[in-house]
Symmetry: C2
Subunit: 337 residues, 2 copies
DNA sequence: TTTCGGCACTTATCCGGTTCAGCAGTAGCG
DNA sequence: CGCTACTGCTGAACCGGATAAGTGCCGAAA
């Protein structure tokens, strides 16, 4: 049951290893007749190139890495990562690249994983997600010299190649829509305050609220879990001048917020409008279905993968701004009572 | 910026490549003084073994594969896979194994991926999920000779190593609990009918209902999506002798069912009891929080990874029956009105 | 004093591909 | 006819590490 090698093919075809290599790689140097014979034999005995041997010759590892740095219980919650991964993969597998995945606990462990992968020659590059403010990973990766695409805003990506979407524009669209419905008190239940995209959304939210002359526009930060989303909602809805609309930073918190509102005998959307970030089946399954800021996450991941492969090939390395998220209105938003 | 090799270390230490190799691998053949000097140099210049070179010497690839064969949009929905993956990873990374992940569209593509990974020497083994009835993948993998752990029932795993949990027992526990509450008409909204675990749950459900002498116990099959869960629920609740309890095969369908019930002005749990399969933050966030059949999915994945690594090492290859899922009661179940 | 054993290394080979230099054979051309 | 140019192939080196087979040297036992 030994794996066949090009030496086996060479023996059967009665030529040298070199000739077999040329034939199998579409290189000139063998006649068409010989090439056809070699290919037929290779196919017959089920030969596959051994990537280890190829990689040894300075060739690509034909794999890229993705280390996710969130506790397992948070990862399972949001469809975001799974969708992102499938988008990345669709692109990678079309080019016969493999994805190495690892879930780690903290940034230090994450960097350890990247160092190992890169040092061992396991990957040709990686995708970095969840940028922090003053993210220590950026300078460390720059020093490593590993090709990396950052899913996040260019302002925090250093010299790494960013792929990002204009979250600010989506926040503005959402708030303007709510203001047009007549809402004057809009609250935001945001994610982790140290994440760059949270900061960007925070700033856009504050700016557009001020620009529209809205009354009070509190932002509450959470860890993205339903519990904290529920707690934040409870606090907001208990305040004297409670908001008439709440914008959430993910879907699970929005659903939790919806439950809290219904528990407090508030009608959604009559008494409270709710907007979720990132669409998911979840948002369409609850009553009323949630108005969401939707983006094509698999496409987003696919673009990142494309850019990374280009970067690895030494080609086109310009930053890519993806299409901005779009507001999709459903039953959870309406003019305030 | 070339990656350092043992030749670099040998040059700096003034010894041969062989000596360096012995020193770095803890083999006898070098003095402790030399070993220490070599290790210090290796550490200083940041040397890492090139896995490609190691693999070429017949060593392990130190990676295992997982190909998921479900459309991307279904994958993101259920926390199951993400939790399973993080559990697998926790075990793998502790042993410095990497996980190769690929999302594919159908079984044929999945087998292509396994063939390529195995043929190219990229992986030492793989984990197979979502067993079908008469699954064509089982005999094909048996023929390939790749070490594989199957997450699923032994009856369908052929000669591959199964890791499974007793779903039937959990179904029995659930139905008996509902019957003890006084329910006589219990329905089941199941997943894809071709999956082995669906069949096992189906049979257990029918058997225990018959054993308890319950009135009508319909099972409706779906594709696991919220839409189909909602549709099935609507149909069940519109029937003349509608069930007083529904057991769902995942969490998203249970939540969809809850919304449908509330839309139909049925009180949960007074008019309808609901049980979900697999716990998730989602189940705790909705009102009322859902009674669930819970299992420790990360642990499950971890056990599968352990078994696979044992199998690769040629050690302990007995099937593993994991702890059965346990019923966790919350607010969505009560005696029928 | 010789011999043997073992330590601490070196040298050479191998893994499975890629790639380059070289070398027949032949066709083209003056 | 002789020279060049090209085709189609061979042989060997090489990638980075593992490892079997030496080799030189020292100390202890006969």
């Amino acid at each position: 049951m030994r794996r066949p090698t090009i030496a086996d093919i060479a023996r059967q075809a009665g030529v040298s290893k070199g000739a077999v290599s040329y034939a199998l790689n579409g290189q000139p140097g063998v006649s068409e007749a010989t090439r056809a014979r070699i290919l037929a034999i290779a196919d017959e005995i089920g030969w596959r190139p051994n990537i280890a041997a190829r990689a040894l010759n300075g060739a690509r590892a034909h794999a890229v890495g993705l280390a996710l740095c969130r506790p397992a219980r948070f990862l399972g919650v949001e469809p975001f990562f799974m969708e992102l991964i499938s988008g990345i993969e669709a692109e990678l597998s079309a080019r016969s690249y493999a994805l190495l995945l690892q879930v780690v606990g903290d940034h230090e462990a994450e960097m350890g994983v990247y160092r190992r992968w890169w040092g061992e020659g396991r990957v040709d590059g990686a995708i970095l997600v969840d940028l922090h403010l003053d993210d220590p990973r950026v300078p460390e990766i720059e020093e490593m010299g590993m090709p990396v695409v950052v899913i996040g805003h260019p302002s925090a990506a250093g010299s790494l190649l960013p792929v990002w979407a204009d979250d600010g524009a989506a926040v503005r669209e959402t708030v303007e829509y709510l203001a047009a419905l007549g809402h004057r008190r809009i609250a935001r239940v945001a994610g982790l305050p140290r994440l760059v995209h949270t900061v960007i959304r925070d700033r856009a939210f504050t700016d557009v609220c001020a620009g529209l002359g809205l009354d009070v526009c509190p932002t509450v930060h959470t860890d993205y879990t339903g519990e904290e989303g529920a707690r934040a909602t409870r606090r907001l809805l208990s305040s004297p001048d409670r908001p008439t609309a709440v914008v959430y930073d993910n879907d699970i918190m929005a659903v939790a917020g919806l439950s809290v509102a219904q528990e407090m005998r508030l009608d959604v959307p009559a008494d409270l409008s709710i907007v979720a970030w990132d669409d998911s089946p979840l948002c369409q399954v609850v009553r009323p279905p949630l108005t969401v800021v939707a983006r094509d996450i698999p496409a987003y991941g696919g673009h990142a993968a494309q850019r990374l492969l280009s970067l690895i090939d030494g080609a086109d390395t310009r930053p890519l701004e993806d299409v901005p998220p779009r507001l999709t209105t459903r039953g959870s938003t309406a003019p305030p009572a």
